[in-house]
């Protein structure tokens, strides 16, 4: 019977439809598998999180703020932030309390060529907030080098901003940048000189970081009181002498501490007992003006509104996993859409081709119907022809998808991501459903074409 209805022509349509089916099926299968793989990767790791720094808003111009102390977060405020929705943990920034100047020698040797000179600051955060802890991230009093982490985009700014504009500054690779000697001059009069190195470039923290124990040590040794730690001492209703430091107030006799009064230099009229200032100062030492928070997922509108209400300023650090996840999802979605388009066009081409095949074989097919063969028998005849072609295309597509996935697994292993090679049960289930849908659509088309023969 097959021989009786064999039609000539329509070969190229079948080839095009087969190619579309091969590509579409392969892409769809791959997209489904990669979606599951990405879920496995993101599922194994900590839930997607983002990091933010928070500080209190600064209002007014330079003159208004001159002499005012830092706006630090009190313990109550930190507790309140900790209770906010999605907050996973909070860490404080410690900053340097001494003037700091850096000489960076891009030539790789101190004194050779031009140095990039800059006044800078150091900050430190708890190590577990770092995106990674370099092996050389260690300092003790015997260390000759202070390790420094700077944001990756500082290096980009150097390479694509500063270096092209200044002939004496070469562009630097990561390796070259980590080899640059850096001279650290501490104090206004360079009381101390130390050597530093960039040990890593962070994509998470937007600050110049040094190990916390170094900063604590340096602050202790070279720290200067800032403007917020100078006070007017009041005596007999008038200011007595120049602004005094905390250390001076601490050295006063106990009775004077109890009865004497001081006022901050930023608001001289606000007189307070010396004892109160000294007590508050102990707490201030432990407080931070800038904090880093880790939150789960992306911040909600309510969370951002709450921060605004509290007059906190938020600086979003670099969203890593969130961004990776978004990119991965976009790629998967793109693959899925392309695969779907290929598959749909292949279904359409197959449908057209088989309508054409039935129509080209209409004379013998009609003769068979006239002989008493049922339209179901004829549909089965054409459909089995389609199934053979479809399976010849679909099975290689499945194999190709599995092969590409295993190839990607190998690549992923090279990046330290462990993935199971091969298609999952879900993917095979999806492939089966896809196969059934593809077959059903074409069965319907063929059945209709056969039924139309006798009309």
């Amino acid at each position: 019977m097959r021989e009786a209805v064999r039609a000539k022509g329509s070969g190229w349509e079948i080839w095009i439809a087969s190619l579309g089916c091969l590509l579409g099926s392969c892409l769809l299968i791959l997209a489904v598998q990669l979606y599951q793989d990405s879920k496995t990767i993101f599922g194994k790791q900590a839930p997607p999180s983002n990091f933010f720094t928070l500080n209190k808003k600064i209002h007014g111009g330079a003159l208004v703020n001159m002499g005012k102390g830092e706006k630090t977060f009190s313990q109550e405020e930190l507790d309140e932030i900790g209770r906010m929705e999605g907050i996973m943990r909070i860490g404080g920034f410690t900053r340097n309390k001494f003037p700091l100047t850096l000489y960076i020698w891009p030539s790789g040797k101190v004194g050779l060529g031009a140095a990039a000179k800059t006044d800078l600051f150091f900050e430190s955060i708890p190590d577990d907030f770092l995106d990674f802890v370099p092996e050389t991230w260690h300092w003790d009093e015997k260390s000759s080098i202070v390790p420094i982490i700077v944001p990756k985009f500082y290096l980009d700014l150097w390479n694509f901003g500063l270096a092209p504009a200044r002939v004496e500054y070469p562009a630097l690779s990561n390796e070259a940048a980590t080899g640059m000697p850096i001279e650290l001059f501490i104090g206004n009069n360079r009381e101390a000189t130390m050597e530093g190195r960039f040990v890593a470039f962070s994509k998470r923290i937007n600050s110049v970081l040094v190990p916390k124990n170094f900063l604590d040590w340096a602050n202790e040794k070279y720290g200067k009181p800032d403007a917020g730690q100078y006070f007017f001492l009041w005596k007999d209703g008038a200011v007595d002498g120049p602004p005094r430091t905390i250390e001076f107030l601490q050295s006063l006799p106990d009775d004077q501490k109890e009865n004497g009064q001081v006022s901050p230099i930023s608001s001289p009229a606000e007189r307070k007992p010396i004892s109160e200032i000294l007590q508050g100062q102990e707490e201030v030492d432990d407080l931070h003006s800038r904090i880093i928070v880790q939150i789960e997922g992306s911040p909600s509108e309510a969370f951002l509104a709450q921060l605004e209400e509290l007059h906190y300023e938020i600086n979003r650090e670099f969203p890593e996993q969130d961004l990776v996840k978004k990119i991965t999802n976009s790629i998967l979605l793109g693959t899925c859409v392309i695969g779907l388009l290929f598959s749909l066009s292949s279904i359409a081409t197959f449908a057209t081709s088989f309508r054409l095949i039935v129509s080209q074989a209409s004379e013998p097919a009609t003769n068979l119907l006239l002989l008493g063969f049922s339209s179901a028998t004829l549909t089965k005849l054409f459909f089995s022809q389609f199934v053979r072609i479809f399976l010849l295309v679909f099975l290689p597509a499945l194999a190709l998808g599995a092969w590409l996935q295993s190839l990607l697994c190998q690549k992923a292993t090279a990046y330290g991501i462990k993935l199971e090679a091969g298609l999952s049960v879900w993917t095979i289930g999806f492939a089966l459903v896809y196969c059934i849908v593809f077959l059903m659509i074409n069965l319907r088309v063929i059945r209709k074409s056969v039924d139309d023969l006798m009309r």
């Binding site: 019977m1 021989e3 009786a4 064999r6 013998p364 003769n367 068979l368 119907l369 006239l370 002989l371 008493g372 063969f373 049922s374 339209s375 028998t377 039924d451 006798m454």
Partner: protein, 211 residues
């Protein structure tokens, strides 16, 4: 199978051909087991009548009944069954499969008539024993006509419709084919309606209608 025609008027037949016809616009019946000859010149509607009885045309007024049931009312599935088991037809244009050989054409039927002789016997009866393995497209029209006739006889039937089955046969072959037809009709206790251009084949008909 009993056939009744009640005032049948096929739409493609010109009105002027209707008066004088013994079939169109009259009531008649063909009883089960009867053999009837429909004789007419070309264009009078012989094939049209056979196609109506085979469920291929519905463009007529009046009523055609098979075993008391209107041919209009059969569903597609019922027609499939009728064509498979109850009515067999030899079309004027034969409707063979040219790329298949004679034997393959004879085998390509949905159901075999249990009372039919073997393919070899049938081929021998009509003088086609040497052409069984030959592709139909290489046979003469007369040879093809005999193959198509054999195919119609190899299907089960209660009504056999033959549209000018001897138009390209010589007398000797027409006689041999006629004998086989009569034999198969008798064996199947079937009715026969045979159309011809006017000559009467050597078959003992129960009656003749002129169109």
């Amino acid at each position: 199978m009993r056939i009744e025609l009640q005032s049948i008027r096929p739409h493609p037949i010109p009105e002027k051909l209707i008066p004088g016809s013994e079939i169109w616009a009259t009531d008649l019946s063909i009883e089960s087991g009867q053999k009837r000859l429909i004789a007419a010149q070309s264009g009078k509607g012989k094939s049209t009548l056979l196609h109506i009885l085979y469920g291929l045309r519905k463009d007529f007024s009046g009523e055609a009944l098979m075993d008391g049931y209107s041919v209009r009312k059969y569903t597609d599935a019922e027609w499939e069954n009728i064509r498979r088991r109850k009515v067999s037809i030899l079309f004027q244009d034969l409707k063979l499969f040219p790329q298949l050989n004679a034997r393959e054409n004879l085998s390509l039927i949905p159901e075999e008539n249990p009372s039919a002789p073997s393919v070899d016997e049938m081929l021998t009866t009509v003088g086609m024993e040497d052409f069984g393995m030959q592709r139909v497209e290489t046979l003469s029209f007369g040879q093809r006509q005999r193959i198509a006739l054999l195919r119609a006889l190899r299907k089960p039937f209660e009504l056999l419709l033959l549209d000018e089955p001897f138009s390209h046969l010589d007398e000797e072959n027409a006689i041999a084919a006629s004998k086989l037809i009569e034999q198969m009709v008798e064996l199947n206790k079937a009715s026969l309606i045979l159309s011809s251009l006017g000559d009467v084949p050597p078959i003992s008909f129960d009656g003749k209608f002129s169109l």
